[in-house]
Symmetry: C2
Subunit: 438 residues, 2 copies
Amino acid sequence: MLGELETGPDLAADLLHGSLGDPSLTSMNFLNEITGRYPDAVSFAPGRPYEGFFDRASLHDDIEAFHEYLRTGTGASEAEADRALFQYGRTKGIVHGLIAAQLRADEGIDVDPESIVVTVGCQEAMFLTLRALRADERDVVLSLSPMYVGFTGAARLLDLPVLPVSGGTTGVDLDDLRETVRRARAAGRRPRACYMMPDFANPSGLSLDLPTRRALLELAEGENILLLEDNPYGMFHDGYGRLPTLKALDTARRVVYLGSFAKTVLPGARVGYVVADQRVRAADGTGSLFADELAKIKSMVSVNTSPVAQAVIGGALVRGGGSLAARNEPLRARYQRNLARVLAGLQRHLGDRTDVTWNAPTGGFFVVVEVGFPVTNEALERSAREFGVLWTPMAYFYVGDGGRRHLRLSFSLLTDEQIDEGLSRLAAFLAAEDDRTA
Amino acid sequence: MLGELETGPDLAADLLHGSLGDPSLTSMNFLNEITGRYPDAVSFAPGRPYEGFFDRASLHDDIEAFHEYLRTGTGASEAEADRALFQYGRTKGIVHGLIAAQLRADEGIDVDPESIVVTVGCQEAMFLTLRALRADERDVVLSLSPMYVGFTGAARLLDLPVLPVSGGTTGVDLDDLRETVRRARAAGRRPRACYMMPDFANPSGLSLDLPTRRALLELAEGENILLLEDNPYGMFHDGYGRLPTLKALDTARRVVYLGSFAKTVLPGARVGYVVADQRVRAADGTGSLFADELAKIKSMVSVNTSPVAQAVIGGALVRGGGSLAARNEPLRARYQRNLARVLAGLQRHLGDRTDVTWNAPTGGFFVVVEVGFPVTNEALERSAREFGVLWTPMAYFYVGDGGRRHLRLSFSLLTDEQIDEGLSRLAAFLAAEDDRTA
């Protein structure tokens, strides 16, 4: 923000794209701004990964490991391997083979490497997919609600409406999903896809059970829509019986799988990917892979994903023998311990209050707390100013109404002491809000 | 392309976004495809930088130099500097201060670092700018013609029409520019900006002279449009009297400056930027920087530019003492030598032909040759198959008609021997085409 504009504005805001006034952007800006104003608050707001295992030597080693892999694993000369890291490169990326191997090893997903497009984080993967799917103003997408703001933001940028689908008690109300598709069609719209995080969703923390996953795939087939499966947190499970991803269960190419290495390798690489093995047929009868169509779009957005950044991820995959499970075991254990500590702390501080409840995810980064008062930005401001504790209002994650009495606690970044102190402050804040509204 | 689709298509191409059928994509695909089919041809097609100075040790050194700069130059602790490289970070980027210093040192451009958004290459910079400027279907942009396909591609992705402006003899026909703006307004459109590369343009090789630059700025002010100045090749001049960039001459914030490090540091970092110091005023009277609006869009496209990739560029800037001129002197000398060799070779092989002419840029990567026959994909195919030489049809770079008898020669990647052999083959091809059409 600028103060006075001495010479008048150069551009009028109402002549810029409407997404710039989107409430989800305003919400996130408020959260960032308040975080900046209260640097000493314990913050349950950010969903960033734990930083304790970052290691600069490992960064260099990963790059060198990928270079070595190019030479010994693919027969490239030293100069060819250098060129792969340094020059412009293949639009779909250069670590697709390693990603396909990791998907097989860690996720039980078996796909042709050619169906993978390496992207600038999962955000670009969502953006490319939505751009392809919006042919004109009739197209709409659905999302399980509450929903990740990065998804609604990407859709907003493309003037693509997002229809919310109720989460219900299983994470998705299948009847509501079917009805939403049919209502949209009856209104002349084209519902193209439904977005979801089946494992430890951001922001709800919830996972879909196996029958629900199977029912979703059947519904997608029956209603002729795609499922956009986003899976940033699946690796951070409880160690007992992980459920298969939708993509692993997908026999009819109904699922576009959105992947991220921000939580499993390094946020700073900004490398994600999309698995798009759907077949596209043109009017002239020729066929192509959906991944190749997405690559065309990518060539107009970012040309290709930095090969240097891809080398960081590629090296991590090579050094893990094609899997990231072992590399992530210390992180998984840490997030699980934090989750348990948050749940135990909530029980200790708030267990005797019948008007405060919370869910109990078995993995991921998030727990949602329901309270008896309106969870507004004003309440967040009081929480920060008077009690030194930050969190995220769940209303940010709803299109329209919803989440008005819920707040999200993220625990990925925090130490034991911060969790204990933060929950103690949170309990004091909740008590004060009750007094306010009593 | 797939062969038979056993189970029918999953997606119909006509339900995907129209940009996927854009002719510029098809053209570039043909060029890539033919390059793949004739690996032994001498190729004057790609505009990639020379690779001989790539150095992996230098890559690691650049990253470490930036880390060291964060600690000693900005007072960050070791952990804070690590976090800056590894974690999610500032949407507008972390090398903005160093870029502002380099713009001052190397380009005579003096801007507040806050007006810079670091992007995933210059392509994302163009994309963000065009997204912001297209508020609705009334908006259009202009481009000097012939034009860079990355620009038309980004505009196509946003359903934003591009109106071509004739290059004329000075690189831009100012009357045509003014008339194009006025005609568009009269037709109810909103011309928002005109795109150009004032220095050694891709594909024409031409530069705008100083009076033309000043006249352009005046015209932009008078007609109330922005100028989008793209400057990837300015560093590769002839060493005598570089002209100031439009942005350096811009006293009224009419120029949005699009920058790239792909040619001056490393393509594989995929780091570019946009300088957007325009002020935006909202209906409620509040103001913001255009750069901050572009950052909001970036948060929905790619979140932020890989800090690891930014560190590569940041380190190069630090090691150059805030300038890239010394680092680029060997490259500049090489490109100048190649340019001179191409011009001399054309004279030697074709100097006695009155029906073949070419321009004589004083820098950059490109020379344009005009011939007496139609320069089509079929001609390119014959050139590759029968003569082993590749180039780019200039028609690729026109919206509508234009460039039908012109081809672009790019010489950035080639050795002396490749240039000599390639021009000898080109001369033989031209003679054969004359025989065909005689």
